[in-house]
Amino acid sequence: MIFSDAMLFAQFVSGLSRAMILFIMASGLTLVFGVMRVINFAHGSFYMMGAYLAFTATTLLAGSFGFWAAFLIVPSLTAVLGGVVEVFLLRRIYEKEHLLQMLLTFGLVFVFSDAVRMIWGVDLRMVSLPSYMAGSVIVLGHQFPAYHLFIIGLGGAIAVVMWLMLNRTNLGKLMRGAAEHREMVGLLGYPANRLFTIVFMMATFLGGLAGATIAPAVRISLGMDTEIIAECFTVAIIGGLGNVWGALLGALIAGMMYSFGILVLPQYAMAFIYILGGIVIVVRPNGLLGKSSPVKV
């Protein structure tokens, strides 16, 4: 098989845009785990919700304005929903076993998926792009869908904002402190509850944002929640759970593996990342950028 340069470059760009969506998702997942030690299965549901909400928002607010408004409104709505989930459900079981938290968010996956079905039905939905985004642009003599470049830019921006937030703000320091030593937050006189709510809302904002961003590029369908969550978990694990840069690294690997894998074995490109996940676990059980734990059990 011989691939032309143009083809490889095109796959590289599409892999990068896929990676950025995964990064936006996985960083939310990893923030919640790092700070709260909660594994949020429902993260994919917020993503799906984001995509469907983007559909509704762009239908209600037609035109280019609607499209951009959706980018702000949709993630805010999923963040509010996330806040409700944290305050009314999750908060009640922080003291109990980890397993129960997992099960709770797992239950929410089912609830949300049927809720989406009730609201939007089973039909596939599409979001159309403003005309200036729908076309393609020429980079280095090759044509690319403009929207892919937009996604890549957005992912980069999120990474920068995340870095600034974690390293330059008090909230970020508190979050990093909590990730290292959870009791510290309380000792510093900061209400841990509030921090947890903020972090969870931030994560669900990111989930909704990823959904709204992917919406114009795919057919929005039921089942996109469980599809992405499995991949997103694997990405987080490959990078090292609880580590934002690990999420970025894992997402890049996953995106590239998919877009180049599809050239080699188109049928099974989906499965590559899971196989890699298995290998990483065996070689480095805490992920590529994760710290190893001293006790082996």
Binding site: L99, F106, F110, D114, F233, Y274, I281, P285
Partner: protein, 328 residues
């Protein structure tokens, strides 16, 4: 005093045997009542409950006794079902061997999955690695059209007549019942053995258990593979019941149903998952005949159970019973 105690014990034992006898009798009469008295559909349902009881109990070996949150058990159930179905449809394999090949294939797949999953630390990593495994199996079943018939699934499985006939589910009911009782007894012996106790110690406090010299990974490996084997048995029975298998049964959300059964019934009790399985199968039939939002119902139940009744239905009943007995 001592004599009284002894007498009470023998009384208890007598009661227990009597209870078993009544239960057995009921299970033997039940299919005839269901088929003749109500409709063959109820017999189908009863058989389905039995199969799910086996699946849920085998799964609980991993979750309740091993403390491992596997979300990949649908893979073993599905591999068991697919192996048997494909052998019967595509080859002239003797049915009995095809039946045995199902669980063996499931156990082999379990070995591969366990090789990766038992060495990870933490419930989340474990869940993810098992989901990943399940996704791989699902992708294979879905995309490998020439081998698995893709999303059409394997249709028209030729079920041997001594297991099930088109006319009636009675044979299948008894076959599934016998297999399930046998498997449940095997699982019971395992969890009651010294090995079972070690497994539970490992679940309660993995670090301490490791410090006293237990080989955590090895113990978990054995539990996982055993559980995969029995899940495969359930899968074979399922293939006989439905006479078709589709890739759906390999998706990780399907694993979720069996997780819910365990939790709903009570994962800390041997028969908890069985109770959960019975409730879930009957409830899902009931709910889906009235409305289409079964997942919503199931998710809500799971959330409520986690928040208000983490011991599960059977756990709650046992608690109430013991406190009532103490008062006596």
């Amino acid at each position: 005093m001592k004599k009284d105690q002894k007498k009470e014990q023998t009384d208890n034992k007598g009661m227990r045997w009597f209870g078993c006898f009544i239960l057995g009798l009921a299970l033997v009469i039940l299919p005839y009542i269901l088929e003749k008295g109500l409709s063959p559909y109820y017999l189908f349902l009863a058989t389905k409950v039995i199969i799910w009881i086996l699946f849920a109990t085998s799964f609980n070996l991993v979750l309740g006794y091993g403390g491992m949150m596997s979300l990949g058990h649908a893979a073993f159930f599905g591999i068991g079902a697919y192996t048997c179905a494909l052998l019967l449809v595509k080859t002239s394999f003797p049915p009995v061997l095809a039946m045995l090949a199902g669980p063996v294939a499931a156990a082999l797949a379990g070995m591969i999955a366990a090789f990766f999953s038992v060495r990870v630390q933490g419930a989340f990593y474990f869940a993810t690695i098992t989901i990943a495994f399940c996704q791989i199996a699902y992708t294979a079943a879905f995309k490998w059209r020439s081998f698995t018939f893709g999303d059409d699934g394997v249709q028209g499985i030729p079920v041997p007549a001594f297991i099930s006939t088109e006319a009636s589910y009675i044979n299948l009911y008894f076959f599934a019942l016998a297999v399930t009782v046998l498997c449940l007894y095997a699982v019971w012996r395992i969890v009651r053995s010294p090995y079972g106790l070690l497994l539970r110690a490992l679940k309660e406090d993995p670090i301490r258990a490791t410090f006293i010299g237990m080989k955590g990974q090895q113990y978990r490996f054995i539990a996982f593979v055993t559980s995969a084997f029995f899940a495969g048995v359930a899968g074979v029975l399922y293939a006989f019941l439905e006479t078709s298998v589709a890739p759906d049964i390999l998706s990780w959300t399907f694993s979720g149903e069996v997780v819910l059964m365990s939790v709903l019934g009570g994962m800390n009790l041997f028969l908890g998952p069985a109770v959960g399985a019975a409730i879930m199968v009957l409830l899902s039939t009931f709910v889906t005949s009235y409305m289409k939002y079964w997942l919503f119902t199931m998710g809500t139940i799971l959330v409520l159970i986690v928040l208000f009744c983490p011991k599960g239905v059977a756990g709650l009943v046992v608690d109430k019973y013991t406190s009532w007995q103490r008062k006596d």
